[in-house]
Every structure is written in structure tokens, then in C-alpha cells.
């Protein structure tokens, strides 16, 4: 993309849906009411692990105002987001696997009647011994102790092992070898809007589901499978979402049940989950134990790294297959690693399933790596930033595990935060109780492969031109607040040279919009943006041809700008966009075009190489300055500097907003948020009061620096900003705490009790379980790789 004089891109415009959100006009799923609608509730298991002997629903069904009751027998087909690990049921058929696992659903005239009916359902459970920790899961190897029956080794959902480059040789060449262990506690998305879905089964045997989903296409597929109905008869509409962060990316029980109950009752059926239910639905950050060993030269040059991760997956697979890979794959993207070994295992436990939360599987290893490097630098007597500067990855290179890095602004990101924070004046020089810490990270702008294997595009955009000059953009993407609707409008406005206000956008409706895979993996800007530009290109060809004939100017001398088609050489030769559209429609018929985007082909070919590749990596650095009270252990963050290589600031306001939101969410994870359970399998703190998250009082001043590297694969050079900026903040907090008080906390959340224990010398090293990993998949850099770099 050579264009640099943009009229829309790079401008701090309002989001296209901002007004609706500031006036109360935006209608979220729970704001929809339909005639004859009924309200549904799920009966959830009170036991973490039990076999269902029998369920009796007769009494519930006979309660006045109850329209329908269903159980597992009504929806027995298994589903799950990853095709190879479909292990969920809409309602448990034979077993429940966590407290909160749904076993029956009731639709009634009101929520309160539905709740009363739930109490009339009798379930006879045979209680089984629950598994509640990684260690317990690894020890429960007997067939009788299994949570699931489909997986090969009892309670191991997935174990992986890779060796890239000459790992043994790397460690042999190292002059010093360092080892550390870490723990990252699980936490949840806590989107302000609870999950909501409305099913309607209407005339012509067509089913519609409105849902607060982030992934309408995957939901569409899953519903077709579970309901045994062709996708052509199902319409999924992603309603404006009140926050996702990954928590609305799985197909869910309540969505399947809303559809089924609508079919049974002949009425629209709404499920609006309670806040407590949202905690149990979860799919959030995995608790991960980690072990890391790194060999370095005395000057700090990395020679080899060996990383192990142990993920507590909860009761179901969800995205777990991808999650376990993500805890290992991106370690190689920020720093040059000549040899790298990764072993990871995700276990089943009797807790709510973990899944993707902002950063999916990568905040945990980033936490470990960045603290580990900080410790190594200290032992080598180096500034931790100098240690990193020795081995930054570079643009247009391929990592030891076969990941292609295109643009790379990591060095500039480091320079920016170091200068703005006055790092050199502060590091190891602030008084006791005050400290400063640094960390860096890398993330993907969209997964390189789709969730289910297929050769079709990842994103499709359709554009319709109206003779009045109106433009409608259709795309299957779903706006979860990040501004994906706006991105489409900005791209199309830029291409046609019109005011964004002339453009309408229709998204996330499987009846109306071409497929986009969804709002996950920070993929939307790059993929929908490119698809939109391609669709515009096809229409521009027709429009410029028309204008060329009318103005008698060669098409390649024409530009579309300010609502006009204009000659570059003779700027007075113009025609309005509307005239041009009319002329083109007269000549070519109704005007419409489609565009699509598929990421570049994966470079490496080893088994497991599908997780990690992306069209473009982003890079982020963060400096955190904080105070810690030695008497109370309380931490107060004074300021955070964050520099993010976003490729191009598509709309700087939105890019900053994503960055600031990521920093905030990272602080919650670093200091307070935790998804924790009692021995009974009950959530300890399933409310917004007890599950502590930062308010305006705990969120510090955030200074955001956007670094632009103009990536060849990004639309106008843009990359992601929604997830990457979360990553460096958490370890930067831990590193700053060490600078402040001289103790290391190798886990999150870093709560006052842990700080005090550490100050008193009672903080225990994180223990990591032993496990026999499978033999590694070995791959040498360059093996089977066809290098085609865009520059």
C-alpha cells in the first residue's frame, strides 16, 4: 500500500456507532423484546463431578406458565469450538464436569416462573471425586478417575512437545544457565454485558438466533450440527456486544437451548444469564504453571531456551488445543532464539472451562519470560533493557520455529518508553518503596489458520452502491466495542473518497453478510480491512472507467477524493461521486462487488505449526512506575508508559483506546483479579464486588505511544492493537515491584499478602509438577520453507 496522503485513515474520527452508544439507542441482545416471548433458565449442577442417574421434569412441566422443559436427551449432539475436541453437550447427558454445568432448561412466561420450575426438576446424581488442580489431574491416571472418556491419556486434554534448532548444542555453548518457575492464576473477562441469546423459530421452518456472540459464523456451524438443521435454515445475528474479550467466542449451551426451546414452544425464547452464571460460563484465562531454563553467554546473548507449561483447562476443551500451543509459540518472536524447546500440557479439572481471554495463552509465558530475563540481567550486572536490545528480532526474518516476521517496531518501542519514562534516571535509583520495571512482547494480528480446516477466505466483504451515492458495506464481522464496524467504514470512505457519514454498515448477520470468522485473535482490522479494499477496487474500476469516458481523462489520472472523481493533471475536470455512480449503473447495471481476504500461507510444515503464524506481528513495550507500602504490602501504580507497534494508526483514537483498555485489563490481572474455587468446586467470588477489578481509583495515568511501521500485509499498513498491549504490562509490574522493594513475586495476582510474605522471607518458590511429555516434534529452521518476503 503506497498511498500515504490519507483523508480518513489516521484521523481521530468518532466511531460509527458512538452516537447510538451515547444516547442509549444501541440495542444489545437483552434489549430485544418480541411478541409472545418467553424467558428461559438453566438448571445447573451443584456438584463438580457427578454421573447423572436420572432426571425427572414432569413436575416442572406441569407448573402453570411453563412452556417447555428440555434435558440432555433433547440435544445429545456434542459440539465445541475446535473440530477435533468437540466434547460439550448443550445439557449434560451422562455426566456433569463442573459446578454450573447445565443439565436442564426451562422456558416460561417469566424468569421467576422459570426459576421456580427449576426447583421442581429432580436430578439423581452419583457423586464422583472431583479433580480441582493441575497436580491432581496429572496424578489421576486411572481409567476410573477420568473426567472425559474421549482423550487418550486420562485427564490430559493435550500434550505437545517441540524442538527447534540444536537445543542441546545451544545449552552446551551457553556459559551460564538459568532456571525459574512461575504461576499465572486464572481470571475471567467480566464483560459488562452478561451473555444473552434469543431464539425464534418462525414461518417457513426458519430459525433465528440473536446472540451477544463474538463469533457468529462458528456459532452458525455449531447450531447446524447440534440441531441437525442445515445452515441455510438458520440465521445467526450477532447483536451489538457489551464487551467480549474472548468470553463470547465459544458456542454455548444457552444458545443451543434458546433455539431448541423456541422450536418446541413455538415462541421466541430469551436467555439472559445472571452475573453469577457468567462467572461459571467463564472460558477465561487459564491458570498456568511454568518452568523456564535459558542458556546465555556472559554478555547476555541467548543461546537456547527450554519452556514448559502446565495449563489447568477446566471441565471442557473449548479452545484448549490452541491455548496450549499459544503458551509456547510466540516466545521466539520478540527475541532471537537460536534454539528452543517447548513442552506443554493442558489438563482437565472439574472447574468451569478456560478458553481465550485477551492475549489467549500468551500473557502467561510472557510474564514468565520477561521476569526471567530481568533476573538474568540482574545476575549479569546488566540493565535489563540492554540485555533485550542485544537480541531483538528484526523485520523480514523467520524465527527458529518458522514464524515469518514482516514489519517489526520493537526497537523503536523500546526507545520510546525508555525516553518518555526517563528510565535511565530511575532504574535502581529510586528510594526504597518506589520502583520502575520494563517488559516487551509480541502478538499476532489474526490467526493464520481458521478454526476448522478449509480453503475459503477468512473474511468477506460485500459492497452495494446506491444510485443516490449511498454505500452499504456488508461483512460478517461482529463489533464487540473495538470498532470493527468503524474500520470497515473508514476503509471504504478512504477508497471512494467520500465522507464516512455516507456509508452504512451491516455486520454479523449470517443471512445478510458474507462470512468473517469473528472477533478473535486480533484478526479483524487486517482481514476485513483488506477484504473491503479489494471489494472497493473492483467497483472503483467501473467508476473510474465511467468517469474517464465522461471527462475524457485517462482513468489512471483520476482520483476519488472529497466526494468527487477528479483529474490529477486538470483538477478542474471533476464529476461528483453520485453522478459517477449513476453513470456506472447505466453502463454496467446494478453496482455491487465482493472482496475477500486469506492470510499468507504458513511457512513451516511441521505438525502443530498452525498455531502462531499471522499476517503480521505487533510489538509492545511497557514501563511501569509504582510504589509499594512495606507495612501493608499494597501496591499503587503511579504511571504506565506503553509503546505499541500498530503498523498504522487506522484511527489513532481507537488504537489508543484499545491500548489503554489492554493496560487496564493487564493491571487487573497483575494486582487483583483471580478466578478461584472452593474445595467443593464452588466459585469463591462470583460477583463484581468480590471479584476485584480496577476502578477509576486504581487505574493510573497511561501514556500511550503509537509506533507506525507500515506493514506490507496490513490494510494501509495497519496491524492489531486490541490484545498485544496487554502482554508486557503484567511482567513490568512484577519487575517494578522488585526494583521498589527487592523481592520477587513470581505469580499473579500480586496481592498484598504475597508481598508481605516475600518481605518477611516466607514467599515460596512456585512448584511445578513433573510429567512425561511426548517425544518432541523436531524441526530445523528453514526446513521445507519457501521464503517469499514482501518488502
Amino acid at each position: 500500500m503506497s498511498k500515504t496522503n490519507f483523508s480518513v485513515i489516521g484521523k481521530p474520527l468518532r466511531k460509527v456507532d458512538a452516537m447510538g452508544k451515547c444516547t442509549g439507542e444501541t440495542r444489545y441482545a437483552n434489549d430485544f423484546e418480541l411478541p409472545r416471548m418467553c424467558y428461559a433458565k438453566l438448571l445447573r449442577s451443584p456438584h463438580p463431578h457427578a454421573r447423572i442417574r436420572s432426571i425427572s421434569t414432569e413436575r416442572a412441566l406441569s407448573l402453570e406458565g411453563v412452556y417447555g422443559v428440555i434435558t440432555g436427551a433433547d440435544l445429545p449432539v456434542k459440539f465445541g469450538i475446535m473440530p477435533s475436541t468437540e466434547d460439550e453437550e448443550a445439557l449434560a447427558v451422562e455426566k456433569v464436569r463442573y459446578v454450573g454445568d447445565p443439565v436442564a432448561a426451562v422456558a416460561a412466561a417469566s424468569e421467576s416462573i422459570a426459576e421456580k420450575a427449576l426447583q421442581l426438576i429432580q436430578v439423581d446424581y452419583e457423586i464422583l471425586k472431583p479433580i480441582l488442580s493441575i497436580e491432581e489431574a496429572l496424578a489421576a491416571t486411572e481409567e476410573s478417575e477420568r473426567i472425559h472418556s474421549w482423550n487418550r491419556r486420562a485427564n490430559i486434554q493435550k500434550a505437545v512437545s517441540f524442538e527447534f534448532g540444536e537445543v542441546e548444542q545451544g545449552f552446551n555453548q551457553a556459559e551460564l544457565v538459568f532456571e525459574d518457575t512461575f504461576f499465572y492464576q486464572g481470571n475471567t473477562h467480566l464483560a459488562m454485558e452478561q451473555h444473552c441469546a434469543i431464539g425464534q423459530y418462525g414461518p417457513g421452518d426458519k430459525l433465528t438466533l440473536w446472540s451477544s456472540t463474538q463469533t457468529p459464523h462458528y456459532l452458525h456451524k455449531a447450531m447446524s450440527k447440534v440441531l441437525g438443521m442445515p445452515m441455510s435454515r438458520i440465521r445467526v445475528v450477532a447483536t451489538p456486544s457489551g464487551g467480549g474479550f474472548g468470553g463470547k467466542s465459544d458456542p454455548f449451551s444457552h444458545e443451543m437451548c434458546a433455539a431448541k426451546l423456541a422450536m418446541i414452544t413455538g415462541r421466541p425464547v430469551k436467555f439472559n444469564l445472571t452475573r453469577e452464571e457468567a462467572f461459571y460460563l467463564h472460558r477465561g484465562r487459564h491458570p498456568v504453571k511454568m518452568w523456564i531454563k535459558t542458556g546465555v553467554k556472559k554478555d547476555g546473548t541467548l543461546q537456547a531456551m527450554h519452556f514448559r507449561s502446565f495449563l489447568d483447562g477446566g471441565g471442557y476443551s473449548s479452545y484448549g488445543l490452541a491455548s496450549v500451543h499459544y503458551t509456547g509459540t510466540l516466545q521466539t518472536v520478540a527475541y532471537k532464539l537460536p534454539a528452543y524447546k517447548f513442552e506443554g500440557v493442558r489438563v482437565f479439572t472439574n472447574k468451569p472451562a478456560c478458553g481465550p481471554k485477551r492475549g489467549h495463552g500468551t500473557p502467561q509465558p510472557r510474564f514468565a519470560v520477561e521476569i526471567h530475563l530481568d533476573k538474568i540481567a540482574e545476575k549479569l550486572g546488566m540493565d535489563p533493557i540492554d540485555l533485550r536490545l542485544k537480541q531483538l528480532t528484526e523485520p523480514n526474518t523467520i524465527t527458529v520455529n518458522g514464524l515469518r516476521i514482516s514489519s517489526n517496531g520493537l526497537k523503536e518501542c523500546i526507545e520510546k518508553v525508555v525516553a518518555r519514562s526517563e528510565w535511565k534516571k530511575k532504574f535502581r535509583q529510586l528510594p526504597f518503596g518506589r520502583g520502575i520495571g520494563f517488559a516487551a512482547s509480541a502478538y499476532i494480528s489474526g490467526a493464520g489458520l481458521p478454526i476448522y480446516w478449509n480453503k475459503m477466505p477468512h473474511s468477506g466483504v460485500q459492497i452495494r452502491l446506491d444510485r443516490g451515492g449511498g454505500i452499504t458495506v456488508f461483512c460478517g464481522s461482529s463489533d464487540i466495542g473495538q470498532g470493527s464496524d468503524s474500520i470497515l467504514v473508514y476503509a471504504v470512505a478512504e477508497e471512494f473518497g467520500v465522507n464516512p457519514a455516507e456509508i452504512r454498515v451491516v455486520t454479523g448477520d449470517t443471512d445478510l453478510t458474507p462470512v468473517d470468522l469473528g472477533s478473535y485473535s486480533s484478526r479483524v482490522t487486517v482481514m476485513t480491512g483488506n477484504a473491503a479494499i479489494q471489494a472497493c477496487g473492483k467497483l472503483k474500476k467501473l467508476l473510474l472507467e465511467t468517469a474517464s469516458d465522461a471527462l475524457e481523462i485517462p482513468a489512471d489520472d483520476l482520483e476519488m477524493i472529497d466526494g468527487q472523481v477528479r483529474s490529477r493533471s486538470y483538477p478542474k475536470k471533476t464529476m461528483s461521486f453520485v453522478e459517477c455512480v449513476e453513470g456506472a449503473e447505466a453502463k454496467h447495471g446494478t453496482l455491487g462487488a465482493t472482496g475477500s481476504y486469506t492470510p499468507p500461507k504458513n511457512l513451516a510444515n511441521y505438525k502443530g505449526s498452525g498455531v502462531g503464524p499471522t499476517p503480521a506481528y505487533t510489538f509492545t513495550t511497557s514501563v511501569v512506575e509504582l510504589q509499594c507500602d512495606r507495612d501493608t504490602g499494597e501496591i499503587k501504580i503511579d504511571k504506565i508508559w506503553i509503546a505499541h507497534d500498530c503498523g498504522r494508526a487506522f484511527n489513532p483514537l481507537l488504537m489508543e483506546g484499545q491500548t489503554e483498555g489492554s493496560v487496564y485489563m493487564a493491571l487487573g490481572e497483575a494486582l487483583m483479579e483471580e478466578q478461584i474455587f472452593r474445595k467443593s468446586g464452588l466459585h469463591k467470588i462470583p460477583s463484581m464486588l468480590e471479584y476485584k477489578s480496577p476502578t477509576t481509583l486504581e487505574t493510573p495515568e497511561i501514556e500511550t505511544i503509537l509506533v507506525e511501521t507500515n506493514d506490507p500485509e496490513g490494510p494501509y499498513g495497519a496491524k492489531e492493537a486490541g490484545q498485544g498491549p496487554l502482554l508486557p504490562v503484567v511482567p513490568a509490574v512484577a519487575n517494578a515491584l522488585y526494583d521498589a522493594i527487592g523481592v520477587r513475586i513470581d505469580e499473579v495476582p500480586i496481592t498484598p499478602d504475597k508481598v508481605l510474605r516475600a518481605l518477611e522471607g516466607r514467599y515460596k518458590k512456585i512448584s511445578v509438577p513433573s510429567f512425561e511429555f511426548p517425544p518432541p516434534v523436531k524441526w530445523q529452521p528453514g526446513e521445507g520453507v519457501k521464503v517469499e518476503q514482501k518488502s
Partner: protein, 158 residues
């Protein structure tokens, strides 16, 4: 217990007579009886601030207020913030500065900020932080929200 009660209140400057079951909260009556769905529910336990509305000019969590108690009260929701088609300056500032991402917390924050500015037109950033401390937002990191409120506060000085 009576199955329904009738309450007269002023909602967004209009006299409203609503009939509802006596246990209904103000949040439920606004959303379900008056179809004012701009007021959001985030927890229904008074923990998140998403349902904040103004009752006689003071921010209240509508999920904790019995609608029955609102006889004769004046209620302001996000739908009533503007003057006709014109936006309230806070609404415009939130849109201009990107202070609404998913937008779910926005109505509650707008009204809480309005109450602050009505009482204290030129608050410091710390005062804005204090006023909004009961309104959770998971998207923005609060930065753009604080900036938007400050922008309006400064705008009035000019």
C-alpha cells in the same frame, strides 16, 4: 400482597403513570414497562454502576431502587440527557474522544458524570475519579472517559 401498584413519576421531563408489580425495581420498570432500554443491567446487585440513573438529580443504582419508592420523583435516564435532537455536551464529548467502546457502561457513566458537573462544574481529575469510582468499565481503562468529562468541564469555562 397487591399484584400491582400505580406510580406517578416524572421521567425525562414527562409525566408518567406506570403500573407494575410492587417488587419491581426502578431498573425493571424503566426497561420493561417504559421501554427505556438505554439503562443497562450489569449485575442487578448494585456492584457495577451500569444501571445508574438520576433520581431527583442524584445518581442512583436503579437496580437497588424500588420503583414503588419513586412516586413523585423525577427520573432522568440516558434517553433524556439531550435537549430534543441536540446532544448533551457529555454525550458529544464521549463520542468525540472514544470514551464509549462497547458502550454498555456508558449510560450509567454519562449520568453519573452529569450529576457531578451539575453540582461541581469544574472538578479536578481526582474529583472525577472519585465520582466515577462506582462505575465499572472493562473496555476503556477509564482514560478517555476522564478526558471526556474534563473536556466538558473545561468547555464551560470558555
Amino acid at each position: 400482597m397487591r399484584s400491582s401498584v400505580q406510580v406517578k413519576m416524572d421521567v425525562n421531563g414527562e409525566a408518567v403513570e406506570a403500573t407494575f408489580a410492587p417488587y419491581k425495581t426502578l431498573l425493571e420498570v424503566l426497561r420493561e414497562e417504559l421501554n427505556l432500554t438505554g439503562t443497562k443491567h450489569g449485575c442487578e446487585l448494585g456492584e457495577c454502576g451500569a444501571c445508574a440513573v438520576l433520581v431527583d438529580g442524584e445518581p442512583q443504582l436503579s437496580c437497588l431502587v424500588l420503583a414503588l419508592e419513586c412516586e413523585g420523583r423525577s427520573i432522568e435516564t440516558v434517553e433524556g440527557m439531550g435537549e430534543g435532537a441536540a446532544l448533551h455536551p457529555l454525550q458529544a464529548a464521549f463520542a468525540d474522544l472514544g470514551a464509549a467502546q462497547c458502550g454498555y457502561c456508558t449510560p450509567g457513566i454519562l449520568l453519573t458524570a452529569k450529576a457531578l458537573l451539575d453540582n461541581n462544574p469544574h472538578p479536578s481529575r481526582e474529583e472525577i475519579r472519585e465520582a466515577l469510582a462506582g462505575n465499572l468499565c472493562r473496555c476503556t481503562g477509564y482514560t478517555k472517559i476522564l478526558e471526556a468529562v474534563e473536556l466538558v468541564a473545561k468547555g464551560e469555562e470558555i
